[in-house]
């Protein structure tokens, strides 16, 4: 009987009856050329004699037992396991046949064919690992740099209707968490008019809208689709309508440049790519990559803030409003939060530090030279109405300068 079931070539068929002709079995020196053979067809273990035929590349291992035999070309033989005791397992590449050798049997075969029982060092695994390193860093580099670059493009190409719908859903979510301020109709209209003109100046592709809400944090942010949300606590921090116009101009820049859309694409795309590659898991390696991705995302966020700060001043000037309002607004924040200008914390912030932003804004205004006398952004009456209609409901707790009041200052 021959063992050919797993051998596509059937080449071992000739092995059964010839093996007696080869040097095999017990040698004169007492070594034992035998083994235990599994033919891959049944779970029976066959005692077999071994012999080697041929020379050089064409050598073959003849395996001969009473009921199973095989011929294995040397190039197809894989050392599946070599134990400390010296016991070895050989298998034929691509087949289920296995040859088990006790230590002394392995020694006997080694004397005849040393290369069969030596662990081969091949370049395969090294090339494999190098490719994996390449793929891994390629994916991470793409997630960190390629996706952000694409994100800006994708955001620009996203149809207005899609971003508007996205904005509707964001508004619905905001509505769950916040309570709208009851702003008098005339005040709301004048503020909306300012927002609308700001949007026109910025040539935004969306109609900018304004919403005032009660929330337990001080913030102003732009939603996808052009809605700008201002919270009561931020409003309470603002001293003049010029500062308010500065905030509005900054948010309008985010809307016009579609920064929010780009951030959504960037974060979902980049984070997803890295998360998916890492495939869950919580090892130290994963954590390092994830942290790097987060820092990169924050850095890009701060870049967008700088761009919005610069554009805001252009808009304010174009509208004839006081461009100094923006810098004043940053002064207020800097005073309330206290600047933390250490290089390390700067890496972890969503926004550049307020004092630097104030400085940059002043420098930019100064560079514009002499400007005509600015007009008020909002009438005093409207500004007062806004502030009183949208005052924080629990005044007592606000304004103690605690970190909580400002942790979300600024904008999206």
């Amino acid at each position: 009987m021959t063992a050919s079931i797993d051998d596509p070539t059937g080449s071992q068929d000739d092995g059964a009856h010839e093996s007696g002709a080869h040097e095999g079995g017990s040698h004169d020196d007492g070594s034992l050329l035998t083994g235990a053979f599994s033919d891959g067809r049944t779970a029976r273990r066959h005692r077999v004699r071994l012999s080697v035929e041929g020379s050089g590349e064409g050598r073959k291992l003849h395996i001969a037992g009473d009921e199973a035999s095989a011929v294995w070309p040397f190039r197809d033989i894989v050392l599946a396991d070599l134990r400390r005791t010296g016991a070895a397992q050989l298998q034929r590449k691509g087949a289920m046949q296995r040859l088990s050798l006790a230590p002394e049997e392995a020694d006997a075969l080694r004397a005849l064919a040393p290369d069969l029982l030596r662990k081969k060092i091949s370049a395969g695994p090294i090339i494999g690992v190098a490719s994996l390193v390449g793929v891994a860093f390629g994916v991470v580099a793409f997630a960190l740099f390629g996706v952000p670059m694409l994100a800006t493009q994708i955001a620009r190409l996203t149809p207005v209707s899609v971003e508007t719908r996205l904005g509707e859903n964001s508004r619905a979510m905001i509505a769950i968490m916040t309570e709208p301020c009851r702003v008098p109709r005339m005040a709301q209209m004048e503020a909306e008019r300012l927002a609308y003109m700001m949007g026109q100046t910025a040539s935004a592709r969306f109609r900018t809208r304004l919403e005032f809400v009660h929330a337990d944090f001080a913030n102003a942010f732009a939603l996808p689709g052009g809605t700008i949300v201002v919270t009561d606590r931020l409003l309470a921090m603002l001293e003049t309508s010029d500062q308010f116009a500065g905030v509005l101009a900054h948010e309008t820049a985010h809307v016009a440049r579609r920064h929010v859309m780009a951030a959504i694409v960037r974060q979902t795309g980049g984070a997803a790519l890295i998360d998916l590659m890492l495939g869950g898991g919580s090892g130290a390696g994963q954590q390092m990559v994830a942290l790097g991705a987060q820092l990169q995302s924050l850095r890009l966020g701060r870049k967008a803030e700088d761009e919005a700060d610069a554009l805001a001043i252009d808009y304010l000037v174009a509208l004839g409003a006081d461009p100094g309002g923006l810098a004043e607004f940053f002064d207020v924040i800097a005073e309330e939060t206290g600047d933390d200008d250490l290089p390390f914390t700067a890496l972890l912030q969503t926004h550049p530090t307020p004092s630097r932003r104030a400085e940059a804004a002043r420098a930019r205004v100064a560079a514009l030279g002499k400007l005509p006398e600015p007009k008020l952004a909002l009438s005093d009456k409207t500004w007062e109405a806004l502030k009183s209609a949208c005052a924080p409901e629990d005044d007592g707790e606000f304004g103690d300068g605690s970190e909580e009041d400002f942790d979300a200052y600024g904008d999206e």
Binding site: G40, R45, Q89, R98, A102, E105, L276, M277, G283
Partner: protein
């Protein structure tokens, strides 16, 4: 190492004279596979042993850790495969090692299939969906997802076992499974609901039913395993230990809840200021309750393991495993420490220790006619375990 082959029906005198000429004859020295007994055709008893040592695999664990770091974890598929090869090669049945024939690329393929076929679409629905979809639809999809998640986890348990078995061989014959992962997952969900409805009391029966299903669908070559309770309930012997777990563990849980809601507020600690007293008492109470629950679970864990072995058979062979609560305690505590202090990189060592625990305590009586067990035509799934990898399901 046991010398079990010589206790079988075939003795040394059955040997072909050819094999008696050279040394060694008769019994092999300890630690060396005894090759003296050919299969006789009337069947063999089987004996198990795990011959590896913890430190054998430590080198592999370190290599895998380093390679995982430089490849940002992409090496994990190949690393896991090497660990499986190492461990199965040291798991011996009748002094002959098993072999793992899976490849890292198969695991990687499985991961990619799940990534693009399942996770990416689900990810898109859940990150972008909320912005675009109407509200009702979002809630509906969350419900579907919750159910789907539980389903997929159980599906993954089955599918990953099927893959691992199809890549495990002994004497060149593959193990395998031929049941349906979908049916298994649905059964697991049904049993889960029943267990909940009975305040946990159906759990032992559910676990045994799932075990029975798994083994009834498992094959060695073309020979099917049998699973069942000859002359008794499937979960016989489990309800005593389970009652201990239920009463003591439940008591610890209730005690913790009482501590948090009744005793803690009376301790005169200002909860708004984090203080050491506060932190220590909360964590101390949680740790204490967790420890009591864990200790109470040990007798049940051991009984479950013993019962699982008892209900499984193949041919005329039946199995037993001498698992004890103190034994499991020692195994799990040391494993836990190894994994924690190596930041997870020592997991292969823990896995090898678990194998050693199980296979050095597993015994069998009755004959298996290996000569008649043929290779199965099925080679098993072509790729492996994408879901199990994604859900971080242990297996090994």
């Amino acid at each position: 190492m046991s010398d079990i082959t010589n206790s079988g029906p075939s003795a040394d005198d059955d040997l072909d004279p050819l094999f008696r000429r050279g040394p060694p004859t008769g019994h092999a020295p300890a630690g060396i596979p005894d090759l003296g007994t050919p299969s006789s055709g009337s069947g063999e008893e089987v004996a198990f042993a795990y011959t590896g040592r913890g430190r054998d695999i430590a080198g592999l664990a370190v290599q895998n850790a380093l390679l995982n770091i430089v490849t940002l974890t992409l090496y994990r598929f190949w690393g896991r495969t090497r660990v499986r090869r190492h461990i199965l090669a040291r798991t011996e049945i009748n002094d002959e090692p098993m072999a793992y024939i899976g490849t890292g690329w198969e695991l990687c393929k499985g991961f990619l299939i799940v990534l693009f076929g399942l996770f990416l679409p689900v990810f898109l629905i859940f990150t972008i969906g909320p912005y675009y979809l109407p509200y009702g639809l979002i809630w509906l999809s969350i419900l579907v997802f919750e159910f789907g998640f539980f389903f997929l986890i159980n599906y993954a348990v089955y599918a990953s076992r099927r893959y691992r078995f199809s890549r495990s061989t002994w004497r060149g014959i593959r193990f395998g499974m031929d049941g349906s992962a979908v049916e298994y997952a649905l059964a697991a969900i049904g049993f889960g609901l029943l267990s909940g409805a009975t305040l946990g009391w159906f759990t032992p029966a559910a676990q045994m039913r799932l075990t029975r299903r798994l083994w009834e669908e498992t094959q060695y070559g073309a020979r099917r395993f049998k699973a069942g309770a000859p002359g008794g309930r499937l979960a016989a012997g489990l309800y005593g230990p389970f009652a201990i777990l239920w009463v003591v563990g439940g008591g610890a849980y209730v005690g913790f809840a009482v501590f948090m809601s009744v005793i803690l507020p009376t301790l005169d600690i200002d909860p708004s200021i984090p203080s050491w007293t506060m932190v220590l008492s909360i964590y101390g109470a949680a740790l204490g309750a967790g420890l009591v629950i864990y200790l109470a679970s040990l007798p049940y864990q051991a009984a479950l393991l013993r019962r699982k072995a008892e209900i499984v058979g193949i041919d005329a062979a039946r199995f037993r495993i001498a698992a004890t609560a103190p034994g499991l305690f020692g195994l799990q505590v040391v494993n836990g420490l190894i994994v924690v202090f190596t930041l997870g990189f020592g997991q292969p060592i823990a896995t090898a220790r678990t194998f050693r625990y199980i296979f050095n305590r597993l015994t069998s009586t009755g004959l298996i006619d290996f000569d008649a067990i043929r290779q199965s035509a099925s080679t098993g799934p072509r790729s492996g375990e994408g879901l199990a990898d994604a859900f971080d399901i242990g297996g090994f």
